[in-house]
């Protein structure tokens, strides 16, 4: 039903993956520059906001195209049905259109939009009595259990891999991108706890900066890192369990 592009950005994977710690460091630095680059300069954002205020439909259309699908996925974490999530997203865009005159540009535009979204999603979740205990989005600061089974680190001396990661990352691209693998990854993402899913969506799928994610979700920097850490590790483990079992 969905038309997805099943191609990985292999150049960037290779860049990361040609391994060696020096490259790992380069990746880390690259991540930092990318995070900075992801926020448009204040002036560009100002132009965007002015265009919106002036009724520029193309600018609004580009915002819709960029954010609506992520907004739907985030809203779905709080409300019982897809239909309610769609309603929440529609209401959010209306509030954005009506409220853009009072947007104070203290946060980025997208952060502001997603804060509106989450407020609406949470209150409509409450109204639907679906807002179960505010899980890890609020209490995720605690470290929780280790992300990799401690039984895999019983090497000698203690704490070293006794059952190290297998070589599934070297499988051919067709295998990794096979429909079943991707379906598995999708299920694994859907089964993440809400806070992890939200952070993962904004950081790793929408490529927001850590600061923006903290602001949009109302969480601390440390909490954001813990949720991201757990989400990424869970996905890796799911892929590993699936591909190693073949």
């Amino acid at each position: 039903m969905r038309h997805m592009s099943y191609r990985l950005a292999w150049h960037s994977v290779r860049y990361t993956l040609c391994a060696g710690a020096v490259e790992v460091e380069a990746v880390a630095d690259d991540e930092e520059t990318r995070s900075h680059a992801a926020t448009p300069p204040a002036s560009a954002e100002g132009l965007l906001v002015d265009a919106l205020r002036g009724g520029d439909e193309r600018v609004f259309a580009s915002l819709i195209d960029k954010h609506t699908s992520a907004m739907l996925r985030l809203a779905s974490l709080y409300v019982p049905t897809r239909a309610v999530a769609e309603e929440v997203v529609q209401e959010t865009w209306l509030a954005v259109v009506r409220g853009v005159d009072s947007f104070e540009e203290r946060s980025s535009l997208r952060t502001w939009i997603f804060r509106i979204l989450l407020n609406k999603a949470k209150s409509s979740g409450l109204a639907e009595r679906r807002n179960l205990p505010l899980d890890d989005l609020d209490g995720g600061e605690a470290e929780g259990p280790p992300v990799v089974d401690p039984a895999r680190f019983t090497g000698l001396p203690r704490g070293y891999w006794s059952s190290p990661p297998n070589h599934w990352d070297e499988l051919p691209e067709e295998r990794l991108l096979a429909r079943e693998t991707l379906a598995l990854v999708e299920r694994a993402m859907e089964s993440l706890p809400r806070g992890q899913r939200a952070v993962f969506e904004l950081r790793d799928l929408q490529h927001w900066t850590a600061a923006e994610v903290c602001e949009a979700l109302g969480i601390t920097a440390a909490n954001q890192r813990v949720l991201l850490h757990r989400a990424r590790a869970r996905l890796r483990t799911s892929v590993e369990e699936y591909l190693d079992a073949r």
């Binding site: 969905r2 990985l8 195209d65 529609q90 070293y160 991108l177 991707l182 999708e186």
Partner: protein, 105 residues
């Protein structure tokens, strides 16, 4: 390259065992990996993670697999908007923003 890394890793591990060199275990390295990638570690801890990744035959693979899992997740995710929703939103935008200011409450 790989042999050199394993040798260096073995040497550091040996030095760490007799307490001559600070050295992370794989378990600690895995625990710190996100903070490392996020640039959230102190310079000392960052250096420890880097040294571990240089010497360990397994942990760099773990980092690669995290990256790869993220890429796979990206490949499953579509950002397309249903055309009907899009049209509705654009209509609403026209109604709201093209109204002269004096009509607003």
């Amino acid at each position: 390259m790989r042999a050199e890394r394993m040798l260096r890793g073995a040497l550091m591990k040996a030095l760490a065992l007799v307490g001559l060199h600070p050295w992370l275990t794989c378990r600690e390295c895995v625990r710190l990996v996100t903070e490392f990638l996020e640039g959230a570690l102190s310079p000392e801890d960052r250096a420890l993670v880097l040294a571990h990744l240089k010497g360990c035959p397994h942990c760099p693979r773990y980092v690669r697999q995290i990256e790869l899992a993220v890429q796979l997740a990206g490949a499953t995710t579509s950002n397309s908007v249903p055309p009907a929703t899009r049209a509705q939103l654009l209509d609403a935008f026209r109604r709201e923003r093209h109204r002269p200011p004096e009509e607003e409450t």
